[in-house]
Symmetry: C2
Subunit: 174 residues, 2 copies
Amino acid sequence: MKPIPILVIAAIIAAGVSGAMTFSAGGADDESSPIFGVKIPSGYRDWRLISVAHEEGNLNDLRAILGNDIAIEASREGKLPFPDGTIIARLAWSYDPLEESIKAFGRPQSFVAGPPKNGVQFMVKDSRKYAATGGWGFAHFDDGKPANEAVHNTCFACHQVAQSRDFVFNRYAR
Amino acid sequence: MKPIPILVIAAIIAAGVSGAMTFSAGGADDESSPIFGVKIPSGYRDWRLISVAHEEGNLNDLRAILGNDIAIEASREGKLPFPDGTIIARLAWSYDPLEESIKAFGRPQSFVAGPPKNGVQFMVKDSRKYAATGGWGFAHFDDGKPANEAVHNTCFACHQVAQSRDFVFNRYAR
């Protein structure tokens, strides 16, 4: 049996419960981000790659930007604004030195993704539903649990810096 | 029209020419890695993500490790050795500071994939064909052109450090 990451379990639960019935506690509603109501999209870990990044400073992680088919197509073509239905996922992991590489190179110089770190984030494009925030709904999950409202109030404020790129920082890595 | 990366063009040419007929010059044979005879696999940029990494030092790049379906399945399950048919792709890009992030954070701290850098590499598992090199065939391409024999002689020597992991440095990022 392969170990199943907790985010995948959360996604399966969210996907399975959604649309079936309403629970008063412990159901799908608990899994939505505040303000925007975004859930963890099922199967996002298998989405294709938009780009990769390294955050230095306090964040100190390695990250991958993945996209659903609409996001990949639009990113590749450089089409702005992103069409409705676009979902962009930001995964991040601990920035860990690779032990085998130290042996091969004789010095630490290769850094690889360790355990998950700094949560997982999503941007969902719905130009009508999220008109007040540039057409984007935001979500941040730690261990499958959405962060609080204060955290979600910071998303759009920061992404406004990238307004000329439809609020998306990353470009498709060719 | 979206711009088509040169590696994709090379892959299309290699895939289209392969098996059709033999050219004396400019054909598919030119696109194979020396020693191992590995070609650029068609559509590898759309493969799923195994992990991400940052090489410091002279390499100074951001990289993504992608895998074909067999590679993804095996990596996820931590199944060793990798089965025949596994192909692992190592893409790399320039390690570039993100301008918009400097504006958002007030300091350079986000680094993202810039233009392609340090070529693209593949490991192909065929336990019989490549028995002398741990069952792996190696390939390094710069701008779609395979590197020379001397370069390809270094592949297995370095990967031997990771013998206990079937010569693969990267682990699946969960």
